[in-house]
């Protein structure tokens, strides 16, 4: 391309917030430029679908959740997964430990549990319940909407949240009112449903392997750098530039929380595939008939 830099579009899954910390960092701190790439990082959103955009040519790389990938594969979409950004799924349930005590799945019995019908949390919750032989009748399901009022007003005991982004905000609010919160993490109870990962098209991998390589290297370097303790100030700087609406102290908490999900230990490289978790995710979706036949998701996990 002109000027030597390759133009690329990178479509995120969600709005700019802490969950895309590494992506932003890589862009802001010149990692892409270093790899001779000119990457436009685009926000995601509720009606966005990176995999569709890959096929339509609106994007070159994107972020999608594992269930999206598996669903796309089952419909023949030529999608390839390049990295698994979250080692632990940030989708967890918030609750008030003063009111309910949840230490094991069985404790969910007779509780009112918020679930987004059709959402990942529904799939995860069903799997959790089934894993302990509970039926849906054993809990009271509360249909989740856009807002938290039912949880706030104690109409529901547990409510699904993204623990790294929404978690700190809601904890902070409830703490101000003198209430304690805790999070119920499905992965701690054996349900590992993979969340965000970096995707691209088969064609991209086949025709421009070098570009893919450079992009992934730069991106993952960005992620690693963003979560280095010594870079935390710079990371916060970048984040607050994109996420204007979250106060600094909360951003700090979000960053720390996110670190635990993407880099649970120093030994784990960000982007590593938890292949077993991917297989479990596929299995769960098959069991719940979200896909009709196995897709062999394993085959499209390509570590660059």
């Amino acid at each position: 391309a002109e000027g030597g830099k390759e133009q690329l579009t990178y479509r995120l899954k969600w709005l700019f917030n802490v969950s895309v910390m590494g992506d932003l960092y890589a862009g802001e701190m010149g990692f892409f430029e270093g790899a001779n790439l000119d990457v436009t990082v685009k926000e995601g959103g509720p009606e966005r679908d990176a995999i569709r955009e890959l096929e339509l040519g609106y994007a070159d790389f994107g972020v999608a959740s594992a269930d999206q990938v598996i669903r796309a594969l089952s419909k023949g979409s030529p999608v390839v997964v390049l990295a698994q950004l979250f080692q632990v799924n940030p989708l967890q349930w918030i609750y008030r430990p003063d009111r309910v005590e949840i230490t094991q799945v069985k404790d969910l019995k007779a509780k009112t549990v918020g679930v987004t019908f059709g959402g990942n949390d529904e799939t995860i919750m069903r799997t959790l319940l089934a894993s302990q032989g509970l039926s849906e009748g054993d809990v009271r399901i509360y249909s989740v909407r856009y807002d938290y009022t039912p949880f706030y007003r104690r109409k529901a005991d547990l409510w699904p949240v993204y623990v790294n982004s929404q978690g700190p905000i809601i904890s902070w609010k409830l703490k101000r009112a003198g209430e304690r919160v805790a999070f119920f993490d499905p992965s701690a109870h054996g349900v590992k449903f993979v969340a965000n990962s970096v995707v691209t098209s088969v064609r991209m991998v086949r025709e421009h392997p070098d570009t893919v390589k450079r992009f992934m290297q730069a991106l993952l370097q960005g992620w690693e750098a963003a979560f280095k303790p010594e870079n935390s100030k710079a990371a916060l700087e970048v984040l607050s530039k994109y996420d204007r609406d979250t106060p600094r102290p909360i951003l700090e908490k979000q960053l720390a929380m996110t670190r635990k999900l993407v880099k649970p230990a120093d030994s784990v490289d960000i982007g590593t595939f938890d292949r077993e978790a991917w297989q479990q995710t596929e299995r769960i979706m098959l069991e719940q008939q979200q896909i009709k036949a196995p897709v062999g998701v394993d085959k499209v996990l390509i570590q660059f």
């Binding site: 569709r52 419909k75 987004t116 059709g118 856009y146 009022t149 039912p150 007003r153």
Partner: protein, 250 residues
């Protein structure tokens, strides 16, 4: 009349689908981006019963919502028709409520009215009432001089009479808007279901969206469209009948 509406809708829908398929095969898109015909057929077979029931339930709420919003629009329109302080106050209020994206006020509605049927009805009505209101305001604020003169000069004019005269003189316009608003009531109900996520086709659409299942969405759109074509057709026929009864030889 009814069959015409239906086959016209079918033409339109098929045209839309055809465009989608054209895009699909032109760009070689996978079934994930745009479902294949076989996909669509299978999905239709699989869900039409359940979606059909959903649409029926949505329609029944929509009908109530429409009645409520017609009532609401007439009330606000009648109050807001005057150029008095109070009239303009009502208008400002009615307009403002409309400007707010429903998703933003939904939480407030749920806080104030709980999450029962009422809240959903309110949301549906709020989406539907505004266009009727605009028409009613337009009609109600324009005197029909040649008719009103007598009542005015003989001191017989009451607001009820004024409203009656103006409504009657603009009956065609009113019935057009009212029967057209069925569409909006339907859309409003679907949005309410989408937000409150409990039942109806809006709820099913939401699930399909979460699962990025375009074929389910297309089936839902199809069922919504055809149901509405029938309902709309019936309403218009009724409107024409009223019109005829009233102006048989005008």
């Amino acid at each position: 009349m009814l069959p015409r509406r239906i086959y016209q809708f079918l033409i339109i829908f098929l045209l839309g689908i055809a465009v989608l398929f054209a895009v699909k095969y032109l760009f070689g898109l996978s079934d994930y981006v745009i479902p294949s015909p076989a996909d669509l057929r299978d999905t239709l077979a699989a869900v039409y019963k359940h979606y059909g029931a959903d649409v029926a339930s949505t329609l029944s709420v929509a009908i109530i919502g429409q009645v409520v919003s017609i009532f609401l629009a007439l009330m606000v329109g009648i109050l807001g028709r005057q150029t008095t302080w109070f009239g303009s106050f009502i208008k400002v209020a009615a307009y403002n409520v409309q400007a707010y994206p429903i998703v933003a006020i939904a939480p407030i509605i749920f806080i104030l009215f709980g999450d029962g049927f009422f809240s959903r009805l309110l949301i549906a009505a709020m989406i539907c009432y505004f266009p009727i209101l605009l028409s009613v305001l337009g009609i109600m604020s324009e005197p029909v001089k040649e008719i009103e003169h007598f009542y005015r000069v003989t001191g017989r004019m009451r607001w009820q009479l004024e409203v009656k005269i103006r409504a009657f003189e603009n009956l065609n316009k009113l019935t057009t808007v009212i029967s057209g608003s069925a569409t909006l009531a339907m859309a409003g109900t679907i949005v309410a279901e989408f937000i409150a996520a409990n039942a109806g086709i809006g709820y099913s659409i939401r699930i399909a969206l979460y699962q990025s299942d375009l074929s389910k969405i297309l089936v839902a759109l199809f069922l919504i469209g055809i149901t509405l074509a029938v309902y709309q057709g019936l309403l218009e026929a009724a409107g024409r009948m009223i019109g005829k009864g009233v102006t048989v030889t005008r």
